[in-house]
């Protein structure tokens, strides 16, 4: 379990984190999403013990993270800017990782050599950006972490490699019960791998839910009202409405069944509930706090 309570972090008076709270249940895969500058990476740097908070608490498995090396030996992370020593090869970095992670698994290291197929003796700085990311996954997965923290982890990976690393991570989640927190902008991908989602904005976590709850609590209805009804009835609690011809598309914060029942009261000609993607949920949730694509002509 990862618990973050009312976390505040200021840089020169600017609150990058402004009372952020989240909790990641053990064994779950938690997707942290939010617009650029929302504070995702700052929060992640607190989880890995790099930043120290100004206010609030962070605990992993019930213990505070700061300067707690016994706990940090169970937490592995891939930051967005992965660090390696200037002249080092993957093999050199493996020795470095091994000295910090008592559970480092050499057998796994050898096995993953087959998967990644990168020369372990080549200097890492000579590898492409995507290959460096692969190297980070290779070493991180060998640490056998109970907690895995990933900041934009598949950025720069090709489609086959993305699937490959997610397959490895999902394998660990189901075999070892690894708890994963991942930040990403690729909502399509998060939808596959996450079971919990937290949406951040302006240094706060606006909402966190299980994916099942998210999907069951918002619905998109396509409705054709009967003749005479041209406007969406004002009594309907609609988050967002658009119209194309006679077809109204309504976004409502309720289950599909409830929405269909409410709309049925107006005896429409056609009602069709369409599931929302995570991307749409993200847009409509943040739309309520003035974050949306602006119609602008340049």
């Amino acid at each position: 379990m990862i618990e973050v309570r009312e976390l505040v972090k200021r840089f020169d008076g600017f609150a990058a984190l402004d009372g952020a709270s989240l909790s990641v249940p053990t064994g779950s895969v938690y997707g942290l999403v939010g617009p650029n500058g929302a504070g995702k990476s700052t929060l992640i740097r607190h989880l890995t013990g790099i930043y120290r908070q100004d206010e609030g608490t962070i605990s992993i498995a019930g213990e505070p993270v700061w300067e707690n090396s016994a706990l940090k030996a169970r937490v592995a992370a891939i930051p967005d800017d992965w660090y390696y020593f200037p002249q080092s090869s993957i093999r050199d970095m493996m020795r470095f990782y091994r000295s910090f992670y008592p559970a480092f698994n050499m057998e796994r290291y050898e096995k993953l050599k087959e998967v990644f197929q990168i020369d372990e003796k080549r200097p890492i700085r000579r590898l492409s950006k995507g290959m460096q990311k692969q190297a980070a996954f290779w070493l991180t997965l060998c640490c056998m972490p109970d907690y895995l923290v990933l900041d934009e982890p598949v950025d720069g990976l090709d489609p086959v490699m993305r699937r490959q690393v997610w397959s490895l991570v999902m394998g660990d989640v189901s075999e070892r019960g690894t708890t994963v927190l991942v930040s990403s902008h690729n909502l399509r991908e998060l939808e596959d791998v996450c079971d919990h989602v937290g949406i951040m904005d302006h240094g706060k976590v606006l909402l966190e839910r299980s994916l099942a709850q998210l999907q069951d609590n918002m619905v998109k209805l396509q409705v054709v009202f009967s003749d005479g009804v041209t406007e969406v009835p004002a009594e309907l609690p609609v988050l967002h409405a658009s119209k194309m011809g006679r077809i109204h598309t309504l976004i409502m914060r309720m289950s599909a069944r409830e929405a269909e029942e409410r709309v049925a009261a107006y005896s429409p000609l056609l009602v069709d509930a369409v599931p929302l993607t995570l991307e749409e949920i993200f847009i409509y949730e943040l739309g309520g706090v003035n974050y949306e694509v602006k119609d602008m002509v340049l």
Partner: protein
């Protein structure tokens, strides 16, 4: 069999607006209905499917739970999930499909397809 399932038979369509668990549920149901998964045949484990498809194990479990509620599969603690016989799966699905068939037939009639043509179609399916 398990190998065939994971290699070829479950295909997820990323442009499909259905949630992933629904896609997995529907694909597995298709395999059972078509007989590709015989009665009492073991389904791939949640773990194996999660790693193979790179999908969250809880999502897979949700699909399995729904299939079990619908009567298409049954699970044996410690052993895994198995395809149930056709009778068990019947009623609810039949109702749903009849509803869809009714909608389709109505539309075909609207488009001027004659009753004879529909009857011929039914005969063709039976063969």
């Amino acid at each position: 069999m398990v190998l065939i399932i994971r290699e070829r038979m479950i295909s997820l369509n990323y442009r499909d607006s259905r949630p992933i668990y629904e896609q997995i549920r529907d694909e597995l149901r298709k395999l059972i209905v078509s007989g590709a998964l015989a009665t009492d045949e073991k389904l791939p484990s949640v773990r194996a499917l999660a790693a193979q498809l790179a999908i969250n194990p809880n999502t897979i479990q949700r699909a399995y739970n729904e299939l079990e509620a619908e009567g298409y599969i049954y699970s044996v603690p410690g052993k895994g999930s198995f395809a149930a016989g056709n009778d068990a799966a019947g009623a609810r699905r039949r109702e749903e499909l009849l509803r869809q068939a009714r909608d389709l037939l109505r539309e075909l009639r609207y488009l001027g397809v004659s009753q004879e043509e529909l009857a011929a179609l039914l005969k063709e399916v039976d063969q």
